[in-house]
């Protein structure tokens, strides 16, 4: 059921959608399994209370510009287990509400939780086809697997394939990238790493900023190492030679240096100088403020008005 998609659309997913789906799932799960009233009740019997893993459903909204589909937000939907379909009037109501606040967003598809796409999902998928001719299906796998390195979110599209002579719609997996705006990135960072939210001294701010960049560079480094390791293996002959990969790596390397024009250098230096100028200004302000304080303290300590030409013992 899951081969790679050939529709040529690029998908961009915002982290808000992922957090939304996760929250929906956690909420429903915790309402179904109320926390024990006393802390000892879970261990008394030695048996874990039955943790049901509910499936939650919802709709994803966003914008489609040409071949790029960007998923910005999502909201919950009701699932009717008797008809195996989503509650239609509810969906329309919600869509109306969301249209008022986010007028640019359209319904792009639906989401659900689970480990793999199932046959019954195709039913729901087809029902949404009258809103959007080619809806998306976003699947989140809520089981926490510490060994997992990849994000357990998959995006499926539907394609018409001929199987056993019958044209059928099946789900095909598509790749996606995570897209974000600056504000989203900062708040995700904030929540993920729980950085100190108050001002702190300049040193801690600097440390926090540089730590962020350092982690990003560390990731870049580890990825490059993986590539390097692979290439060395290929050179030695441990790994079979794969020309397409070699071409990709070569094109990647040829992109360095990123920018080399004269104009870039000029602009860069101008920006550099601007920042130095601001630092200079700030230093000036700091200096004049300190001088001012010094003068005032001097005047207070050596008060000339009270005695002529003398100093007072200021207490």
């Amino acid at each position: 059921m899951a081969s790679s998609s050939s529709s040529g659309l690029t998908f961009k997913l915002h982290p808000l959608v992922i957090v939304n789906i996760s929250d929906h799932y956690t909420r429903v799960k915790s309402q179904m399994n109320p926390p024990p009233l006393t802390s000892t009740s879970t261990t008394v019997n030695g048996v874990e209370p039955l943790q049901q893993a509910p499936r939650v459903y919802g709709c994803v909204i966003g914008v489609q510009r040409g071949r790029t589909v960007e998923i910005f937000n999502s909201f919950e939907l009701l699932y009717d287990p008797s008809t195996h379909s989503l509650d239609r009037p509810f969906l329309e109501k919600k869509q109306e509400l969301y249209k008022k606040v986010f007028p640019h967003f359209y319904i792009l598809g639906w989401y659900s939780t689970g480990s793999d796409a199932q046959e019954s999902d195709m039913h729901i998928h087809k029902a949404l086809m009258d809103i959007n001719e080619s809806p998306l299906y976003v699947l989140l796998n809520p089981t926490i697997n510490p060994a997992q390195k990849d994000l357990p979110v998959t995006i499926y599209e539907s394609e018409l394939h001929v199987i056993d002579g019958i044209p059928q719609l099946i789900f095909v997996r598509s790749s996606y990238t995570i897209e974000t705006v600056e504000a989203e990135r900062i708040s995700v960072d904030h929540v993920a790493h729980l950085k100190p939210s108050d001002g702190g001294s300049a040193a801690t701010q600097l440390a926090a900023h540089l730590t962020g960049i350092h982690s990003a560079i560390k990731m870049l480094n580890s990825r490059i190492r993986v590539l390097h390791h692979y290439l060395v293996g290929m050179q030695k002959g441990d790994v079979p030679c794969e020309n397409s990969l070699l071409r990709q790596v070569s094109s990647l390397l040829r992109r360095l240096p990123a920018i080399e024009s004269e104009k870039f250098q000029d602009d860069f230096l101008m920006e550099y100088n601007d920042t130095l100028l601001i630092t200079y200004l700030a230093m000036f302000t700091n200096c004049s403020s300190t001088m001012n304080e010094l003068v005032d303290k001097f005047n207070t300590a050596y008060d000339r008005h009270s005695r002529r030409g003398g100093r007072t013992a200021f207490i």
Binding site: S30, P35, E76, S187, V188, G199, M219, L220, S289
Partner: protein, 350 residues
């Protein structure tokens, strides 16, 4: 080993509380206990103590939604409502949603326009499994800090009379992006005529000149609450994994480019404040030493602090640019003769 010691020292200095990685059993905060909430509503412990609520816990989802909504408004103020529950002296915000109202200067009671929306939304939410009630409102102050204006104070006082428990949250999306950390404040107003017993020192923030009067007149009528954040175990897991795809965005963000306008605005505002301070200084040179001198001095000190803040942010932005330049552009250096300079000189830390 040194790095471990350095990290511990830093954590100690900044009172970092190591948040235990939440395990599935501690997701109990997500459980909505209808009867307990109703009982709390009956008791109204806040009626006697205006300073009753001291803390706010915001969920990851609510924060993300509020910041994204605030940022999407650009320079226009936006507002929305927050849903959640109470827990002793803490208000817990589980979710937030946007309201289709545009902020204007004369908006006094925006909820009147949006009541229908709110009722519709709450109903559909309850059906979909979101059981919490509305527990506050949030709005954005793009570029001018997290505080309550005169209109906000009167709106919040009204809310606190009729819709208790209610919380006001202010977000500044422009400063969030510029400073690289979330600018958010949670407030509750005191009832009319109540004088706070002690004056808690709130964190200093710079207020632009055209708003400073509005700020000063009302700043004693409300108090700020501590904000902490929480997330579920699944959120934790997903956010960790998200970092695997996310680091690209961290590296590619260019704060200098994005914040140019805002910084220019801040500097011109600072220049005006400096002129004001200068005029005051000229007037008070003849007058005897007194409290007026002290007040003017602290203004100059404030200006200094503001300028330091702007500079630090700029320097951070420049550092990112320099690092990126070295990483991605220094390949060309190997082609030139080794006598040439190798890029901009390292900056001296201010």
């Amino acid at each position: 080993m040194d790095s471990a010691i350095a990290q511990k020292t830093w954590e100690l200095e900044n009172n970092i509380l190591t948040v235990e990685t939440p395990d599935p059993s501690s997701d109990s905060i997500f459980y909505y206990d209808e009867t307990a909430q109703a009982k709390f509503q009956q008791e109204k412990p806040w009626a006697n103590d205006p300073h009753y609520f001291k803390r706010v816990k915001i969920s990851a989802l609510a924060l993300l939604k509020m910041v994204v909504h605030a940022r999407s408004g650009g320079t226009i103020e936006v507002m929305g409502l927050m849903q959640g529950k109470t827990d002793g002296d803490a208000i817990i915000v589980m979710d937030a949603f946007a309201l289709p109202v545009e902020g204007t200067e004369t908006r006094v009671n925006a909820q009147a326009d949006a009541y229908e929306y709110m009722v519709d939304y709450s109903q559909t939410n309850k059906q979909a499994g979101r059981l919490e009630n509305v527990v506050g409102w949030y709005h954005s102050h793009p570029g001018y800090g997290c505080w309550l204006s005169g209109i906000d104070v009167s709106t919040q006082m009204l809310n606190q009379q009729f819709q208790e428990p209610f919380l006001a949250v202010v977000i500044d999306p422009t400063r969030t992006v510029s400073a690289g950390k979330v600018e958010i404040g949670a407030f509750r107003t005191y009832p009319e005529g109540h004088k706070p017993v002690d004056d808690p020192i709130s964190e200093y923030q710079t207020i632009p000149l055209n708003k400073i009067e509005d700020f000063g007149v009302h700043c004693k009528q409300y108090y700020a609450l501590d904000i902490t954040y929480f997330k579920s175990s699944l959120d934790c897991h997903l956010l960790d994994l998200l970092w695997n795809k996310y680091w690209v965005n961290t590296l590619s963000s260019s704060p200098l480019l994005g914040n140019g306008d805002y910084v220019a605005g801040q500097i011109s505002d600072l220049a005006e404040k400096l002129e004001q301070a200068e005029n005051q200084l000229a007037h008070s040179r003849i007058s005897p030493l007194g409290p007026s001198r002290k007040k003017e001095e602290s203004q100059l000190a404030k200006i200094t602090r503001d300028s330091a803040k702007i500079t630090v942010e700029q320097v951070h932005g420049l550092m990112s640019q320099v690092i990126k330049d070295i990483l991605f552009n220094s390949v060309r250096q190997s082609n030139r003769s080794p006598n040439e300079q190798s890029g901009p000189e390292p900056m001296v830390e201010a």
